[in-house]
Subunit: 416 residues, 2 copies
Amino acid sequence: MILINIGDELLIGQVVNTNAAYVGRQLSAAGFELTGVVTVGDSGDAIRAALEEAFRHTDTVLMTGGLGPTKDDITKKVVCDLFHRELVMDEAVLKHVTDIFAARGMALTETNREQALVPSGCTVLTNVLGTAPGLWLEEGGKVLIVLPGVPFEMERLLDEEALPRLKERDTRHHAILYKVLQCTNITESGLSDLLEPYEQQLPAGFKLAYLPVPGIIRLRLTAQGDNKERLAALMDEQFAKLKEAAGSYAFTDEDLPMQAVVGKLLVKTGRKVATAESCTGGRIANLLTSVPGSSRYFEGSMVSYSNEVKRDLLNVREDNLKRRGAVSEEVVSDMALNAMGLFDVDYAVATSGIAGPDGGTEQKPVGTVWIAVATPTRLATNLFHFGSRTGRAQIVERAAHAALNMLRIEIEKDLR
Amino acid sequence: MILINIGDELLIGQVVNTNAAYVGRQLSAAGFELTGVVTVGDSGDAIRAALEEAFRHTDTVLMTGGLGPTKDDITKKVVCDLFHRELVMDEAVLKHVTDIFAARGMALTETNREQALVPSGCTVLTNVLGTAPGLWLEEGGKVLIVLPGVPFEMERLLDEEALPRLKERDTRHHAILYKVLQCTNITESGLSDLLEPYEQQLPAGFKLAYLPVPGIIRLRLTAQGDNKERLAALMDEQFAKLKEAAGSYAFTDEDLPMQAVVGKLLVKTGRKVATAESCTGGRIANLLTSVPGSSRYFEGSMVSYSNEVKRDLLNVREDNLKRRGAVSEEVVSDMALNAMGLFDVDYAVATSGIAGPDGGTEQKPVGTVWIAVATPTRLATNLFHFGSRTGRAQIVERAAHAALNMLRIEIEKDLR
């Protein structure tokens, strides 16, 4: 299967293509293989060329974008041209669009009416979340699925309309399985050397990939084969071997982000957490609360960006701020210990560092970050150097993930 | 120019392709046109096919990924094969890799030594931030640039090594210009109808695109032509017309995210801001602090996820929590007003809502969010319904952007 994403905004980088990742995730979870993703601009010729090229390599193409109400949307015309169809008014879609506007107390414009035009003979995939309908076209064994580019509309149409139809149509019984093992405290190349004998013995159809994310190396073991049950048994066997080979560097075999791993540990222990954030500016709290149900263990955060807030609201000692500076082991320890009391929690995570681009000194260059984790019985602190050329967003991201990893380690110590 | 991104992790959606957006942004800012982005997996055949196809359409191909130290990296072999080169040891790269490992107190492994192998006759682009070198190959008028996939390494190599070489080589003098106008308080189709006469009169080479982001519609006017100066004059003229046509719906002609627009207003007025966040969980603070220099106007945030924290640390009245519930105009007003005093700021933004997937009721379904902005003289409150099927991450994102937009409106009122 090939995915085509349409949009000038993707080519000039005004928008990050999150749709491709979503589609890839959902397709591989359902056992379909995405062999390529192609992004082209809002040009009829480019869309047509991409479609023709894609159908030379595959019989199923999924296309997103180019279905909005505005003038830069030409996808439907190209599809009609290529599949020799006419644009016809779909009364059900027209009613849906009219109802949406009525509910908002607005009259329908001519531009909106045109959203109800669809290629003749296509199946309309009803978009309950928006005005642009999804389209499903079949001809001569080829399938073209066209979905709107707005992420949450695309996601729902993919999950509830396109994927069920694809599964029904699928007769290949080809299976793709993958499992993830997450490792830490080792470099990518160190892990690669460690796992070389393991990789050498992998059976045909198996592949091990290294996916470094901040502070973590995710190992993904992929297996392809014709018999799903046999493949699953072989996968279990090979995955057990992988865990053994990775030893204590592996910390979870669940394909979850660090904040969800931490969340599960907190649910398990019935304990609560809060954060006191300076350089990470709320990013740790934002990551922790991105997990559904996090209100069970996350109490809150004091984002103390200024020294006054650190002193007045987190009771950081004036003496430490003056003599050691805000970016110091002493200040970050004060922050963590006092946040623990303030929020009445079992664990508190604190960060203070220099995210840049300004504010670095020779002693404390941009990228210097102190992190502390306070527990009922211990205080763990670490100094990180994320590199002065790494960039503000990347430093915040790495610091937030390093903090979550420190928190995970401390909770696990208490579980032993 | 065509961009090829390599990586199974991109196809199965484990990683979002932020590299493509970065490359697109930098290329278009430098006047180069990216006509397509292609993502393929870690397979020699797929990489080779993508390279051959790309060179049929363009003479410059930029490729990222597939240069790491581990076994899933086969790019260099494919490049040698396609360009009839041999892999040779580059002594400068070997020294660089050795030095990096020595600095970390680690010995070089065989896998790391192999990173210093490069195709014969290529120009090495030194990667000061990592071990995998960038590559520049020229042959018969065609250019292939290969960069590592790790974002911050790729970004630096693109900006400091690849782009200067591309500019030097460029003899087309073809110009691409674009300007952005950001609008709000109108639907995409409403704006499209309003701007139809304007779009009709646009000269050849000009294109207007609608890019909806949460709460905002970004209009991008793109112009292409041969004479850069003439094009710039025409762009100024057309952009002025666009502003006039959009009228009061336009709020800025700067291509900045909302948090940076707010930041500039705060710098201009010399005022300070803090946030009190429940459902947004620190995301507003995270957005505000993503702007370099935000410590000039951002004091901090109280992320009050639990009712206890709302009551004990933000002095939200118990009576309001009990009788109105945490998601209410009364509670969000208490939060904003008390945060203003607590952080000693001029503006305070507060949110309380139901991000889901659980916690919704008939009266307050998932997606219900109250937002308040306190100013020295006013308190503005708004109730939003972001839709019960929108998804947790999207509700948080929309609420955070709606809050920033309310803050912008209030600061602008004070500027009048």
